[in-house]
């Protein structure tokens, strides 16, 4: 299993998983954000050649995470499907095959901005679609896609930003990787999808940044 790092957040122990996910052992729940399934297919529609290899890889990673953690619940914090044009046969087949392996898994999706445009996932996938924000089970925190710009009272987990951080060394040396942005009130998850970009973020004083290369995790600073 790839590396994980346990943090104490809102009185609960959460594991950051190097595969760009968060695991809550007590509730056997995996949180991921921004899978953007169907993005490659959307590109192909306009003549840009991208294969579904990234979708295959993402399904495999997700399967392995569920096996390793024995999770019973998966929560997707928005942008499950990339675009309406991406609702294509190859994507559907891959997702259906994956779902067949985990029939007992309960899946929630907090609708993100992309989901609103591309529509809810195929009903056969058995995904419960929820509005943004939705309180988590037992009301511990809120599940969001868009992190609110203003201060909010309730702590939350969110996606949308695809946070990435660029480190500069001497000379031309530089390195960029996905990260979690964590403070007392919120956790922003990195995008789970392999065919997604990064948005560079700044390191604010009250925040912790955890970088990952998909295998290991390093806290910044």
């Amino acid at each position: 299993m790839n590396e994980s790092l346990t943090i104490d957040w809102q009185g609960e122990l959460l594991q950051l998983l190097a595969d760009r996910a968060v695991f809550w052992p007590k509730e056997k729940t995996i949180y991921i954000a921004d899978t953007h399934f169907g993005k490659a297919a959307t590109f192909r529609k306009v003549g840009i050649p991208v294969s579904e290899h990234t979708t295959m890889e993402d399904c495999q990673r997700l399967a392995k995470l569920i096996d390793d953690t024995r999770a019973q619940k998966l929560v997707i914090l928005g942008d499950f499907l990339h675009a309406r044009a991406g609702r294509s046969q190859p994507v559907r087949n891959l997702l259906f095959n994956w779902r067949d392996q985990y029939q007992k898994l309960s899946i929630d999706l907090v609708r993100g901005n992309h989901d609103l445009q591309s529509g809810d996932p195929w009903p056969e996938l058995g995904i419960t679609c929820l509005p943004d924000p939705t309180p988590s089970k037992k009301n511990t925190w809120e599940l969001r896609h868009l992190p609110p710009e203003e201060e909010v009272d309730r702590p939350f987990l969110a996606g949308h930003l695809h946070p990435g951080y660029r480190l500069h060394g001497k000379g031309r040396d530089s390195l960029r990787c996905p990260c979690w942005v964590v403070n007392e009130k919120r956790i922003i998850l990195p995008a789970f999808g392999s065919f997604t970009g990064l948005k560079n973020i700044k390191h604010e004083k009250d925040e912790k940044i955890f970088l990952t290369n998909g295998k290991e995790i390093q806290e910044l600073g």
């Binding site: 192909r44 003549g47 660029r166 060394g169 000379g171 390195l175 065919f195 560079n200 390093q218 910044l220």
Partner: protein, 829 residues
């Protein structure tokens, strides 16, 4: 509708066409130059060719009058038609900014001669309605850019509309020559020649070291042409402002702040001045420094560089043309485009880096026939004095750099083939012949061709399983075409090869755009702090969605942005001139005033170490607090030195494990280690061996990061990245991904993708100048290695030692790298 009968008799030409043109010259009190007459007669014979001459010598009229004479000759005694002739001349210019000026100047001759010709422009800025009107009936002469020509070729109707085309003129060919836009021009010309084998092509170029190749590239393979020399011994003068206190003038540095007062005085003494700098940040520095020293110049001087918004730049250009501005501080953004507005004085800040560049800049003044083009050089550090002396000699002897055309850029081929597929379709067998007639693709292999076809039809190896991917479809006859309307639309929108890196737009809160800065710069500035941009002191308010909102700062100081790239190395021609000057100085010959001024420093170098002769390679070793420092001086330019420094340090670490830090400049490189290892003559011979350079570079440099950055351009040209344009529909956002992402995905799932290979080659050729590295090492293997051990840093070594840009050679894991870099982050914070 009132029809007015014309009572005037229809006009006819009363004399031979050539005389009409000669008479026009007479009214202007000009005497046509021999090269202009030569061009006209060659054009009349149906020949093609390349005209090379310094700027401001009348190249435009040399090329423009030919087609007009041809038309008048065809007209003969027939009455002058009222209706303008259909498209006869295509005028291609590299810069959109030049299009307007060119159109204006071409029109002048037509109007003066009272010919019914129309001259119109067509660029990305031309409105849709005008473009549509033009497609119905083109003007007699169309002034356009390579991209717009390519776009025209994507419409099947163009072939018919271009059936009357006689001549294509390519302006500033030297600027296009070794770029992808140049290749785009070549491919466009190949198509036009296929339509009309008698098409004449004329190129206008500055003088280059390889004019024969420049001409072959323009005219295509196996096409004879006439090389016309318009370089009628125009006089150039390279003057240097010698620092008063040469003893105290710095050995290192690049801003040159010590000379601001002298420069201000020079500006005061002349009409309009162009102050050229080498990089954008230097432009910002000098503009600010001049304003500080002469506050009353607040509105009298302007600033111009590539990151400033086009509207703002345009204002400066207009004022320059009107002569209502005292001086403009600029980068090579004004190398072109002021052809039509000569200035009184040209100042060059810092080293010239290349002979052609200095010549081009000097040519911005002294446009009157017989006048001298003079450039005043201002050193930013002492050693640049040698460069000036060498540059002057090279200019007098017209030893000018060559510019090499590119070799088979497949990204551009992919783009062009889709353009052809859109523009009526193509058959593979004919298309490969057509493409091979372009010089840059003359050597393309069947295998490469096959790969590109497969890439645009099936999307390459990994996409065979997806039958819905049909960018280009092939019918049963073998005709390649594009069926999908959405693919056509995307392709047309993304034609073009200029890449702009993702940049942060700088805006006032009112929405007025100022230009762009790099994300890495703005991310280091806190909201509320100040920085200089476009000559203004600005306060950063916030950064959101690739926009930095700023306001004018009331007072205070600010930092100057640094833009990546754009650092051009000292050219081989100039470097060899520098080595000659140093050899002479070693023999106590100080001919030029710059060399005499530098004499004390050079003698210090000579006493403490050595002034290398042409057949010597100097290596110095000095012990400093940091450890043992080796200084090697191949004089091969900063890019090749960066690669050499990495290569040699990699080879050193294989002899003995050690950690080395390194730095480099145009003259040499520096390696520093805490190790006390000694290297004797034969060790150095091995370290500097030209064997296995590329393989070892791949092992030792973090090339994948460089490849990834380079891949952005490749991906964009090949149509993978859709950048969109202002006002593009939002839905396009769903198909936006960065070049880096494509690079990662392809590297993982499609490692044999030839676009990856190409991006690697571009890194090696352009960013590291591998060919120059190898030829330098080959030169060194025939040189005597002289090793000196100065007790203190020599004048040559000091700037290298002071160079803050250092990188380390070591092999760390990902987490070690993260730890190290985040520690460095803390230190600098």
């Amino acid at each position: 509708m009132v029809v007015q009968a014309s009572k005037q008799k229809a006009k006819t030409l009363k004399k031979p066409a050539i005389d009409v043109v000669l008479e026009w010259f007479k009214t202007k009190q000009w005497d046509p130059f021999p090269f202009q007459k030569k061009t006209w007669s060659a054009h009349a014979k149906g020949e093609s060719g390349l005209i090379h001459a310094p700027t401001g010598t009348g190249k435009t009229y040399a090329a423009w009058a030919g087609p007009l004479i041809e038309w008048m000759d065809e007209l003969g005694k027939k009455p002058m038609p009222k209706r303008p002739p259909e498209l006869r001349v295509l005028w291609i210019t590299p810069l959109r900014a030049l299009v307007k000026d060119t159109t204006h100047s071409l029109r002048t001759l037509v109007e003066d001669l009272q010919l019914p010709w129309t001259v119109e422009e067509r660029t990305g800025d031309t409105t849709g309605s005008i473009k549509a009107k033009q497609r119905k009936r083109f003007p007699s002469c169309l002034v356009t850019t390579p991209e717009s020509l390519s776009l025209l070729l994507s419409y099947p109707e163009t072939k018919e509309a271009f059936s009357n085309l006689r001549t294509v003129v390519v302006d500033e060919w030297h600027e296009l020559l070794s770029t992808k836009r140049g290749v785009q021009t070549e491919l466009g010309l190949a198509r036009l020649r296929l339509w009309n084998s008698k098409l004449k092509t004329w190129g206008l170029s500055a003088t280059l070291g390889n004019l024969d190749i420049a001409q072959a590239t323009l005219l295509g393979t196996n096409k004879p042409g006439k090389l016309i020399d318009g370089d009628f011994k125009k006089k150039f003068e390279v003057d240097v402002l010698i620092p008063k206190d040469m003893e105290k003038f710095p050995w290192a540095g690049h801003l040159g702040g010590k000379m601001v007062e002298e420069v201000a005085q020079q500006i005061e003494g002349a009409g309009t001045t162009l102050v050229f700098t080498n990089v954008r940040s230097q432009t910002e520095f000098w503009f600010h420094a001049l304003q500080q020293i002469r506050p009353k110049w607040k509105d009298e001087i302007g600033i111009h560089h590539g990151s400033i918004d086009r509207k703002e730049r345009k204002q400066v250009e207009v004022r320059l043309r009107e002569g209502t501005i005292r001086a403009v501080v600029c980068t090579s953004s004004l190398d072109l485009g002021v052809d039509f507005s000569p200035v009184d004085q040209v100042i060059q800040i810092g080293g010239p880096k290349g002979v052609a560049r200095l010549l081009q800049r000097a040519g911005r003044c002294g446009h009157q026939p017989g006048a001298v083009s003079r450039v005043i050089c201002v050193p930013t550090h002492a050693m640049e004095m040698v460069e000036y002396a060498a540059a002057r000699e090279a200019i007098n002897e017209r030893r000018i750099e060559a510019r090499d055309p590119l070799s088979s850029p497949l990204d551009l081929l992919a783009q062009h083939l889709i353009t052809l597929a859109l523009g009526g379709g193509f058959f593979s067998k004919d298309a490969i012949k057509e493409v091979r007639s372009a010089w840059s693709f003359r050597d393309i292999t069947e295998e490469e061709w096959g790969w590109v076809l497969d890439f645009i039809i099936r999307g390459g190896d990994t996409l065979r399983a997806y039958d819905q991917f049909k960018r280009v479809v092939v019918d049963s006859d073998g005709l390649h075409s594009v069926e999908s309307r959405i693919i056509s639309r995307f392709h047309r929108m993304s034609i073009g090869t200029i890449t702009s890196d993702p940049a942060i737009e700088v805006k006032f809160s009112t929405g007025r755009r100022l230009g762009t800065v790099e994300e890495s710069f703005i991310s280091r500035i806190k909201p509320g702090s100040n920085f200089y941009f476009g000559g203004k002191l600005l306060t950063l308010k916030r950064v959101r969605d690739l926009t930095a909102v700023v306001s004018l700062a009331k007072r205070g100081k600010g930092v100057i942005p640094v833009w990546g790239g754009g650092k051009s190395p000292l050219s081989s021609e100039l470097a060899s001139g520098v080595r000659q000057k140093l050899e002479a100085a070693g023999m106590h010959i100080f001919k030029e005033k710059e060399m005499r001024a530098l004499r004390p420093s050079l003698e210090l170098q000579s006493i403490g170490s050595r002034l290398p002769k042409m057949n010597e390679l100097l290596i110095e070793r000095t012990d400093t607090r940091e450890g043992t420092c080796w200084f090697v001086y191949p004089f091969a330019g900063c890019l090749a030195h960066e690669g050499l420094a990495s290569l040699i340090s990699y080879r050193m670490t294989r002899l003995e494990p050690m950690t080395l830090s390194l730095s480099f400049n145009d003259y040499g490189f520096h390696l520093c280690s805490t190790s006390t290892q000694e290297f004797n003559e034969s060790d150095w011979r091995n370290l500097l061996s030209p064997e296995g350079v590329v393989d070892e570079l791949l092992e030792c440099m973090n090339l994948s990061e460089m490849d990834k950055r380079q891949f952005r351009e490749v991906a964009r040209v090949a149509g993978l990245i859709f950048q969109g344009y202002p006002g593009a529909r939002k839905s396009n956002r769903q198909v936006q991904a960065s070049g880096g992402l494509f690079f990662d995905v392809f590297s993982k799932y499609d490692p044999h993708n030839l676009l990856l290979t190409q991006s690697r080659r571009e890194v090696l050729d352009r960013q590291l100048e591998v060919n120059r590295m190898v030829s330098t090492l080959e030169r060194i293997s025939g040189q005597i290695i002289v090793r000196e051990s100065p007790s203190r840093l020599s004048p040559f070594g000091f700037p290298l030692w002071a160079e803050s840009l250092r990188s380390q050679v070591s092999s760390e894991s990902w987490s070690e790298r993260v730890k190290r870099m985040s520690q460095q982050l803390e230190k600098s914070a």
